[in-house]
Amino acid sequence: MTDAKQQTPFDVLQYLRQELMPHFLCPGCGHGIALRALLWAVHELGIEKDNLAIVSGIGCAGRTGAYIDANTFHTTHGRPLAFATGLKLARPDLEVIVITGDGDCLAIGGNHLIHAARRNLDITCLMLNNEVYGMTGGQVSPTTSEDRYTTTTPLGNTEAVFDACKLAEGAGATFVGREVTVQTPTLKNLILGGIAHDGFAFIEVISDCTEIYGRKNDLGSSAEMILSQKSAMRPETFENNIIDRPFRPNALPTGVLAHDKTRPEYGAAYRASIKAQQTKK
């Protein structure tokens, strides 16, 4: 981390592969805001691009990783945490950040989440939760709220919803947080805290799929969707909003939800134990 870096104002374009523009995200998609918040945090921490490894899965969330001008790895659906685990163990010097979606991280890749949390390897996992499989056209996901319409639940979803933060914390994640995108500076600070944390950090970004999920559920414009996200940081937004079916009916807590600095980071503990074994001989 260099102080000089911190002093330069944040310019998101410096962190994007501009030759890939225009990007593929739909207008108003919350994933873009999350991407900005992530890059902002990276900037404030002064992480060199060469030392930054972005690992992403498949989905609209995962695709955003490809636009970052750093070391990026677009893996297969559900596997970014497994990939990141190998990467971080082999190259502990890299800052490894995973970008994943609710489907990628909780459905097909759910097993990797609980084991990454259990190990407490120093990886930051950013899960962009838009309550839907956006990339494949809007099917029900493990976080789709009750009664919401998707292409595979034309009469409304009847399945129970995952609380991803509770899941991660229960499995042993030592840094857990949730934030909405309307609070971009707050979101940036949360991500910053997660990256700076020495251990597995799980951050759920309440994102929104305006184009498919929003449209199908009559959730209004992207601005309306974003403003209707409930945040503990700005409860008045929620109370005053004019939409009678708020985007997030469930009052999920936001902010830092768990921060345990006592558990050893897996990589460091592993290397220390190897060293101890070797000196014994």
Binding site: T76, H77, A107, I108, G137, T153
Partner: protein, 426 residues
Amino acid sequence: MRRELMTGNAAAAWGARLARADYLPAFPITPQTEIIETVAQWIDAGEMNCRMVMMESEHSMITAAGAAAATGVRVFTATSSQGLLYGMEMLYTVAGWRAPFVMANVSRGLAAPITLEPDHNDILAARDSGFLQIHCATCQEVLDASLIAYRVAEDARVRLPVIVNLDGFYLSFTREPVDIPSQDEVDAFVPPFDAGPTRFRAGKPMSQAVAVLGGTPYSYFRYETHLAARAALEVYAEATDAFERQFGRRYGALDAYRCDDADIIFVMMGSFATKAKDAVNKLRAIGERVGLLRPILLRPFPDTAIRQLLAGKKAVAVIDQNISMGMGGVLHGEVSAALNGSKDAPPVLASFVGGLGGRDISAEEFFEIAAETRRAAENGETPPPRLLFTESELREIRKLQAIAHVEHGSDEAEGNRNGEGEERHA
């Protein structure tokens, strides 16, 4: 019966609906998703009586499909590409359970690199799993094959799951007129699933697939599965005969087009074979006696029929829309094995690989394939395998590489790679 314009995906969904599938575990993936979405709409509109569950991955989807089928329920499911591969462990397992059900696979090339467009590496990865495979070239075939597949899968002599394969985009999203048979007619053709002894009865418990076996019983069960798959050749023939009587459309294990008087035969699978068909007509117009052989059944492999059909031909060009790394075209290997040892096998069996990741195969390329095969027939020497790729495509790639700052060898080294190696770019 009525006639409608529909996509290949909708045709697959119609197959499931008309066959009265009871249970459909699902997981979305492009370009298959329209199948499960169509069924979801029908179920919620009360037009189809089926239970559909969104699973958390293809692995659990295929597990659920196999488990339900093993208890005597008629099951349909669908996937594509990465999804098929993700479920691979269970493909072998449920086939070993002898659980008969039908799965549509919408072919799409495999990662890495990532593509959404079709080729056959996904479905060919399932070649040895015990699933039977029916490969379609039109939307009508997709619907019809789904019905035929249930007849074959559930036959007591077979009892194996069947994959109905359709190419992503070219079939999945292309609308063609399709005859939708009436429910009564289909009911007559696909009677309710008689699971025989494998029906689940609480009062008569039984165990399936619990034992860990040594080589002798293990070999026995593997051979049994193989023999059941081979028996499907006859069962398929019976089913397609019955299908023709009922619906008037004829399907063989092979589709032979203008082969009778042809001296050169193209061999190709799936919807890209319709491009070959068009090329055959154009080549015929300039006096080339070319025909097209399209395997519809890939498993079981109709080797005898292929041998008979190719007997006495001057040369064969197998055009593979897949590539087995370090070997070449998979279908070329299969056809070659079928012809091995046959007295009147064509002296030339050329291999071409093309159409990967949905890359077009142009009419010019079919002309070039025909010309090269003709030359080979004349000098009696099979040419080295050829990868279809044009100079202008290579130039495009070079531009992309320049953007990505890829360093590559000198042009001299490139020249060596393209020209002197065994395989060449067209």
